[in-house]
């Protein structure tokens, strides 16, 4: 099974929303579509799903153009939308039947997922009586009710409290274990870093970077050094050419040019007899890579 997206483009008026976007997903897992707000993530997903026509390009699942008729995919939109006045179970069955299930199967699947996400007690309540987090769980159940092979989650973690976020993480892990193909769009780098093996960074419709996250990081090399020490190491670090990234309560992070710089700084600290509790040489975070490629979104 594979998802192949080739040369997708879309223009709204004068604005190029997505420009010649391509990527491939050849094994199960989570693919991260990253970008700031308005980068073109949602438009990309809608074009892949065939609910918005692309100006050019195509998206295929197992060599077949994707559409609601050819593939029962799952899609959780960024803007959550469920029927507020209708009972939870009633609308889940409705969505399930629209996905091609029979009523009994839809009901059984809904029951199972409600139980898994610990919201069974709300089955016969109108959605408007649920908290936002629980409404989001219902939205996720509506996405997964027909057990799709290909799943699109548009900003799935936004607005979730830590408890619900953990529960969603567990569900994601289970889906990956069950060999599902998941495309997740997000602008929360830590989330993507945690789940995605492959990523694509979008900036105003342009693909800025794509590939295997581990490989991308390794290409950047060891660029960061985290040191935890009771003594004031900043003057020594500056003398050795290290650039301060951030000073936190218990540790300090520096930018280094490579492993040699880290080794020579370690030697200086040992010679001085500074007691070290942490000395970690690491690759840049996805957030740093993103800023490097796109610029600071908050700037």
């Amino acid at each position: 099974m594979s998802l192949v997206v080739s040369h997708l483009s879309k223009t709204f008026g004068e604005k190029r929303a997505v420009d010649d976007l391509s990527f491939t997903m050849e094994k199960p897992g989570v693919f991260g579509l990253i970008g700031t707000n308005g980068a073109g993530k949602t438009t990309t997903i809608r074009m892949i799903l065939g609910i918005m026509p692309a100006d050019s390009g195509e998206a295929k699942w197992n060599d077949t153009i994707i559409s609601r008729e050819t593939l029962p995919f799952g899609y959780m939109p960024e803007e959550r939308g469920i029927y507020m006045k209708n009972k939870v179970m009633e609308q889940l069955i409705y969505f399930g039947v629209l996905h091609g299930m029979n009523k009994t199967d839809a009901q059984n699947s809904a029951k199972q997922l409600l139980g898994r996400l610990e919201v069974s007690e709300y089955a016969d309540m109108p959605a408007e009586k649920l908290s936002k987090g629980n409404q989001q769980k219902i939205q996720l159940i509506a996405t997964l009710i027909h057990d799709p092979e290909l799943i699109f989650l548009d900003e799935p973690f936004s607005g979730l409290d830590p408890v619900n976020a953990k529960q969603l993480s567990e569900v994601l892990s289970e889906l990956v274990d069950r060999k599902k193909y998941i495309v997740m769009s997000s602008h929360q780098m830590s989330t993507v870093e945690e789940y995605c093996e492959d990523i694509l960074i979008l900036d105003r419709g342009q693909t800025k970077l794509q590939g295997n996250l581990r490989q991308i990081k390794s290409e950047y090399g060891h660029t960061n050094l985290i040191v935890s020490c009771k003594e004031d190491i900043l003057p020594l670090a500056q003398n050795c050419g290290l650039q301060l990234i951030e000073k936190r309560a218990n540790e300090t992070e520096f930018h280094i040019t490579g492993d040699e710089m880290a080794q020579s700084f370690l030697k200086v600290l040992v010679e001085k007899g500074y007691p070290l509790t942490k000395y970690e040489i690491k690759e840049p975070s996805l957030n740093e890579i993103f800023i490097d490629k796109v610029g600071n979104p908050d700037a």
Partner: protein, 422 residues
């Protein structure tokens, strides 16, 4: 088809549970009940005024035991119609006729000006016969001059003939009026006319009300972002058709339900010989064929406008914009309704009427009236239906395209030409 059926059942169930539907059904049922109960209430307050004319002198006559609510001063200074006051009392038993003289006329006029239930009849010498003058507060108040003139004329003829020695049988013959009944060579009758008007108005309100329901349902799904979830499960075409069908069936069920309730109320509450403006009401105009065609025009008319309204609902991003988005369609519906009403009811038989029968936007309003009044040729019905069906097909195709482009468009309202380009 499965998707259309699923959307249809969900929408139908959802809309039937809404308070607005329950309240509107109860409101219409109460209205029907009141309308059917009115004739009985009115007739129970009426007294039979068709007692046979009596002849005799004023002193012999005893007025029926009727509450006299109106007052009329009768001035016949020269006693030109000796039995005049008696004849008036017989013809209008609810009016008290008081004899007065010409000197009091100015004072009486002031009383009439102050009280709408008071009138004056002045009998004076004319060229060949007495001249009658009726004085009332205004043209809407006072006694019926037609009834009073008829009664006084008969009394005058009777007195004149008797004074010339004509026998009683001849006098009675001279007083008589010829029996008459109205018959119409055409198929149109009063009941068909009345029910036709009522049905035209009902069809308009049904199309307006249920069309609004469709637009609201679509707009609510879009603005609450349910459409984002829905659109990946079902084709926009299936969503649109399922919704339009559901609201249509719901409307038809409510419509037929209220009509059936109306028939039951009519049977139970309306008196057997109830007449309106002297004419009996009947449902003879409702032949099986006309009833089927009326329902068909309702369904097709509703479908045409509902699809247009659904598109209006799909173009808005905020629910408060819905009314302004629906305005063009509503204006078209209102203008079409008035064209139908004016051409068929107010000025029948013209070219405008023919055009209204064929134009798909107006035919659902005019055809029920024409069908119930029986003056429509089979060829006209066929042409009208074919044009209406063709219009629905074209409007559906365009609407589905606009709807598909609009449902995922948020922000500034999408222009129709932009939606068609998408």
């Amino acid at each position: 088809m499965k998707q259309i059926r699923t959307v249809f059942l969900f929408t139908l169930k959802d809309a039937a549970r809404k308070k607005a539907f329950k309240i509107s059904t109860a409101f219409m049922a109460i209205l029907v009940l009141i309308l059917c109960a009115l004739p009985r209430l009115i007739s129970s307050g009426e007294t039979d005024t068709s007692s046979p004319a009596q002849s005799g002198t004023e002193s012999e006559y005893v007025a029926p035991d009727t509450e006299q609510t109106a007052l009329c001063y009768y001035i016949d200074a020269d006693n030109l119609i000796p039995n005049g006051r008696l004849a008036l009392t017989q013809a209008m038993p609810d009016t008290k006729f008081v004899a007065s003289d010409a000197e009091s006329l100015e004072g009486l006029k002031q009383k009439v000006a102050d009280n709408a239930d008071t009138s004056i009849i002045v009998v004076e010498n004319g060229e060949n016969a007495p001249n009658l003058t009726f004085i009332t507060k205004d043209f809407r108040s006072g006694i019926s001059s037609t009834t009073a003139t008829e009664a006084l004329s008969k009394a005058y003829i009777e007195t004149t003939l008797q004074s010339q020695g004509i026998d009683g049988q001849t006098v009675e013959f001279a007083r008589s009026t010829l029996p008459m009944q109205a018959e119409y060579a055409g198929p149109s009758d009063f009941s068909g006319y009345l029910i036709g008007i009522l049905l035209t108005i009902l069809v308009f309100f049904a199309i307006y009300y249920y069309g609004y329901g469709v637009a609201m349902s679509v707009a609510t799904e879009k603005t609450s972002r349910v459409m984002e979830t829905l659109i990946v499960c079902a084709k926009p075409r299936n969503i649109l058709l399922g919704k339009v069908l559901a609201m249509g069936v719901l409307g038809l069920l409510q419509f037929v339900g209220v009509l059936l309730f109306g028939v039951i109320c009519y049977q139970l509450l309306v008196p057997d010989n109830f007449t309106m403006m002297g004419m009996e009401l009947s449902f003879a105009a409702f032949t099986p064929a006309s009833a089927i065609l009326v329902v068909l025009y309702f369904i097709l008319g509703y479908s045409l406008y509902a699809v247009l309204n659904a598109v209006c609902g799909a173009t808005v991003s905020k629910i408060e914009d819905l009314n302004s988005a629906m305005m063009p369609v509503m204006l078209v519906a209102i203008i079409s309704f008035y064209i139908s009403y004016i051409s068929a009811i107010a000025t029948p038989g013209g070219g405008l009427e023919k055009a209204a029968m064929y134009i798909p936007l107006t035919s659902p309003f005019i055809m029920p009236f024409k069908l119930l009044n029986g003056d429509v040729a089979a060829a006209d019905i066929a042409i009208s239906l074919v044009l209406l069906l063709a219009a629905i097909a074209v409007v559906c195709m365009i609407s589905i395209k606009i709807y598909s482009a609009s449902v995922l468009h948020y922000g500034k309202r999408l222009k129709i030409k932009d939606a068609l380009k998408k």
